[in-house]
Amino acid sequence: MKKSKLWQVARKPLFFIGFLMLAVVVIAALFAPLIAPHGYAEMNLALKFTAPCAQFPLGTDQYGRCVFSRIVYGSRIALKVGIMAVVIETGIGVTLGIIAGYYGKKLDQAIMFLTDMIWSIPPIILAMAIVLLLTPSAENVAISVALVTWAQFTKIVRVKVQSIKNLSYIQAAKVYGESDVQIILRYILPNLTSTIVILASLALPSAILSTTSMGFLSLGAQEPLPDWGMILSGGIQFIERASWISFWPGLAIVWTVLGFNLAAEGLKELLDPRMKV
């Protein structure tokens, strides 16, 4: 990677802004105990529904818990679950994409049929059904979101592998008797790196949206853990009295997702500007 190009992209204002936005979230997640004035589960029923003030910067909820502290700690859950979902979906999607593209024929048809099928149930509904099976928790949300979103990786990786596998040096490796696994790991995978990085970085913001939606439906981390989506949904019934309970966690989600979206666009610009996703 040429330094000048990196510099060019880094100077793009939107990429830069996205990066700064993410830095805030990562700092909040890393240093949550230092930043949050209160514990995320610290209740004080006498102070419930306190409007934002010096002691509680973003007010308190129906149990008198500090909304700001809950949001700060919640960044850990949002990042962890989002990243976990993307790692799993990348693993499944890339593996199946390589198998489909490399071996072709029946295996390819079977895998393509599987992706069509996954796509014929709206993702969030299938994910809900899977969480119901696995019981609601942060980790299971990550798993279920991954299980319904890997197909986008498969489709793109498959096409890419189909074009790579006929390159002369890969054909030569075959003639030399290298095994399929060796060829895939040594020659095909390195060719896919930038595609995978771009796809994964674009998948991360949508994974955070999906996982917080599951949290909103109370299928994610359970009380008293501060899941952003769940804090928001818990506040809706008190919205006329204490709109801050729902407003701020939502803003935290938009902030994080927007940051990831802008950063991902920049990354794509840097690695492969012409790639269509």
Partner: protein, 309 residues
């Protein structure tokens, strides 16, 4: 048979196959669930004979494969079973709520296209200009918004600060405005992007250059040549988009207490009411397959190259 007929038949068969596989997935998930639906449905006062009778009716005394066909047969006859919590017929519950979900998603998809297509065209025509850049930024922001937060903002501004619309529930068409906007706005960014890039692609085609070279007025080139061709993929996504919106409506319905299927599904999941979850997932899968099928057929009609693929 004509090309088109063969094409439609092929897509239809694939659709049926997909529905069958989906039923296997749904059935599999529910099978793997702990507890027996009948034991959950009845309390201890029900006599063992009655339980056995119920099990026989549902085929629950048979091996799983047989059970699957029992279940499939029942579902195809419209017998989705009885809700564990409310004891009502699931078919009846879904029939009651389906129109509201369709109303919400229908309104949302219309808003999406009415807003996104003209804006996409505008951005493409003003490529790299201020208009294009600001629209693109607005769309990234919308795309990054969870529907449930947008819904909260709308409620705060248009139902509480200004009492223009009801906060929640359904009480006439006025209630539709906020949920439909909430569902439509975040996802219209995709259609905007697609329209913009398709228009830009078509504008580079030879026949467009020729039309310009022949001195055809800008406006009529845009409408007759560019828009007409660019809208083919955009029209196809109209149908592919519907299932997405139906999925999204699960969340939006819960923000606004909208009396649709999504809310029913969520309650069913919270209370582990399996027949409801099964029934709704099945209905939604059928709707999705139908939408995809219509999308395939429309694209086959609009673009003859697709049929022979």
């Amino acid at each position: 048979m004509s090309d088109m007929g063969k094409y439609i038949l092929r897509r239809l068969l694939t659709g049926v196959l997909v529905v069958l596989c989906v039923t296997i997935i749904i059935f599999g998930i529910m099978q793997a669930m702990p507890g027996n639906p009948i034991d959950l449905m009845v309390d201890t006062r029900v006599s063992p004979e009655k339980v056995a009778e119920l099990k026989a009716r549902w085929g629950l005394d048979k091996p799983p494969v047989v059970q699957y066909f029992y279940w499939l047969g029942n579902i195809l006859r419209g017998d989705f079973g009885t809700s564990i919590t409310t004891k009502q017929e699931v078919f009846f519950l879904i029939k009651q709520r389906l129109p509201y979900t369709l109303m919400l998603t229908g309104a949302a998809v219309v808003i999406e296209y009415l807003v996104a297509v003209p804006l996409g065209l505008l951005a493409a025509v003003r490529k790299e200009k201020l208009m294009d850049k600001s629209l693109t930024i607005i769309m990234v922001v919308l795309w990054s918004m969870p529907t449930f937060w947008l819904g909260v903002l709308f409620i705060m501004e248009f139902a509480i600060n200004n009492r223009f619309f009801p906060i929640s529930g359904y009480s006439g068409l006025k209630s539709l405005v906020l949920p439909a906007l909430t569902l439509a706005l975040p996802s219209l960014a995709q259609i905007f992007r697609l329209t913009r890039s398709e228009v830009l692609d078509v504008m580079e085609e030879r026949y467009v250059e020729t039309a310009y070279a022949k001195g055809v007025a800008d406006k009529s080139v845009l409408i007759r040549h560019v828009l007409r061709n660019a809208l083919i993929p955009v029209t196809v996504t109209f149908f592919l988009n519907l299932p997405w919106l139906i999925g999204g409506s699960v969340v939006v319905e819960n923000v606004f207490a909208w009396p649709g299927m999504g809310q029913l599904l969520w309650k069913g999941i919270a209370k582990q009411d399996f027949p409801i979850v099964q029934g709704i997932t099945f209905v939604i899968a059928i709707l999705t397959v139908i939408c995809n099928l219509i999308g395939d057929i429309v694209s086959g009609i609009l673009d003859p190259r697709i049929r022979v693929e």
